[in-house]
Amino acid sequence: MSAPELTKILPPDTELSRPFWEGCRNQQLLMQQCKDCDRFQFYPRIVCSHCEGEQLSWQPVSGQGSVASFTIVRRGISKAYEAPYIVALVDLKEGPRMMTTVVGCDPESVAVGDTVEVQFEPWGSDLVLPVFSKR
């Protein structure tokens, strides 16, 4: 019973999101952009959440953002997650907000408003997750 616990939670494979994860494997953060209103959205949907446009394409974004909020998790959700670790909400320069983590620094040093930059981290199986580091 201990083996599965050491696996981090993996996102289910869906056709809609496959380009996102493929982008991560190529060290690129991709977001859906609407051809009608030019705006970006996250998470991926079959329709633009701003204007209901149906022509969406995957485009690279800067990977620059700022910390909208964060917490330091002191008791991990499972043994696969070594506490303390950060769970953060990051606002990308292009608009979308995403849940993520901030790595490569003392968790205590993170603050709301910090500018951060995307990085890519192997997560198990062949998955790579976007994480962020302070700039």
Partner: protein
């Protein structure tokens, strides 16, 4: 704004209420507790089991059933014409109330029992407990980062602190006043008084939330009986009328919230006040969903008890405590009375009825006429506000 639900105002009353014991109830099943609460509430209403023609339950995490309400009816050997199990997390409870009220007002049922119970403390296997944690959050874009349930609420607290200068001590003050209420309630699970220092020195769970900023994990069940105001007039207790009800829905996943610091409690409250023709200043007490201390802080602001950003100062004023200007969670809330999962806020509802009947004993809010009860589900996602009153006019 339009006056939503005006046709329902004062037309339906709560006429029977009951709680089971709460805490660690080893060996009791959620079904047993739900049935016990239902039968006690029917008795409290001065009615017989055969009078019941409507039943609402919520599913239990410790004993999930495909047909939960139907199984409960079978166990009770009642044969309702209105029967459903609802599920919207903590918000479930109060959403069910106005659905039931509508069914009564339209004649789809005459007397409805709402019974909810769960055994979050002693009924969950390790796998089920992990599943409860992991099933919160977006499976693709949130869960992989390992957020725990306290972590989601910590994101709200941290944003409020950054935006308005709210302090950890002010959050702790909410846990302290809640415990003062629980100390007056013989049925509460945790009754020993605590201080701000006790909260601050308890283990950090997810910054800025300490262990004592987090609600309990409990077993327990609770039930109410509702019927029309006309029928209520013949029953033994003072009817407690449903004057206002309002919902607000903002998001499901916290990463998709329109705001981290203003919730849809604002819309839910505005709708409930408009229907009731009452304001926040008319409320003699408020029972606010307190799975974690920051939810109370945000709800105080969004429900109009203080202005946005002033929640911390409002807590410092002592308003929430027994004898304060707005006693909050007079039974002890999820923080100190009990938190049995989805049924959690039922206990805030039964308490509100006792307060408005003026039978709350040592913890009675003097001359309480109107009370507000609010619940939220998800991560400050789905909100329902109820305004209850001992007067229908």
């Amino acid at each position: 704004m339009a006056n939503p639900g005006k046709e329902l105002r004062g037309k339906v009353a709560i006429v029977g209420v009951a709680d089971t014991e709460v805490g660690v109830l080893t060996g009791r099943s959620p079904m047993d507790l739900g049935v016990e609460a239902a039968l006690k509430a029917i008795k409290d209403a001065g009615l017989k089991k055969s009078d019941i023609d409507g039943l609402i339950t919520c599913n239990s995490m410790a004993q999930p059933l495909m047909y939960h309400a139907e199984a409960t009816a079978e166990y009770l050997q009642i044969f309702p014409r209105y029967c459903m199990a609802v599920g919207a997390g903590g918000g479930t409870t109060f959403t069910a109330i106005h659905h039931a009220a509508s069914a009564i007002a339209t004649g789809m049922a005459d007397i409805i029992v709402i019974a909810m119970a769960d055994c979050m403390r002693s009924g969950l296997s390790r796998e089920q407990a992990l599943q409860v944690q992991a099933s919160t959050g977006h499976p693709e874009f949130e869960q992989p980062y390992g957020p725990t349930v306290p972590a989601y609420y910590a994101l709200i607290a941290q944003a409020h602190m950054a935006e308005f200068g709210t302090t950890q001590e002010q959050l702790a003050g909410i846990a302290v006043s809640t415990r003062q209420h629980a100390a007056n309630n013989p049925t509460a699970q945790m009754r020993d008084l605590i201080t701000v220092d006790d909260v601050m020195s308890s283990r950090m769970i997810a910054d800025p939330l300490h262990l004592l900023d987090c609600s309990l994990v409990s077993d327990g069940g609770s039930a109410i009986v509702m019927c029309s105001a006309e029928r209520a007039a013949d029953l033994p207790h003072d009817p407690i009328y449903i004057m206002g009800a309002g919902e607000g829905h903002n998001h499901e996943h916290i990463s998709a919230a329109r705001s981290l610091t203003t919730s849809a409690a604002k819309e839910a409250g505005e709708r409930a006040y408009a229907m009731a023709g009452l304001q926040s200043s008319d409320m003699d007490f408020a029972q606010l969903y307190d799975c974690f201390t920051p939810t109370v802080l945000v709800e105080l602001e969004d429900l109009g008890f203080c202005t946005k950003g002033e929640g911390g100062a409002f807590v410092d004023s002592g308003a929430l405590a027994p004898g304060g200007s707005l006693p909050v969670n007079t039974h002890g809330g999820l923080l100190s009375h009990s938190h049995a999962g989805n049924p959690g806020s039922m206990f805030a509802l039964t308490e509100s009825v006792w307060q408005l009947r003026h039978t709350a004993g040592e913890r009675q809010v003097p001359k309480a006429r109107h009370g507000l009860v609010h619940a939220q589900g998800g991560i400050m996602s789905s909100h329902t506000t109820l305004v209850l009153s001992r007067e229908a006019s």
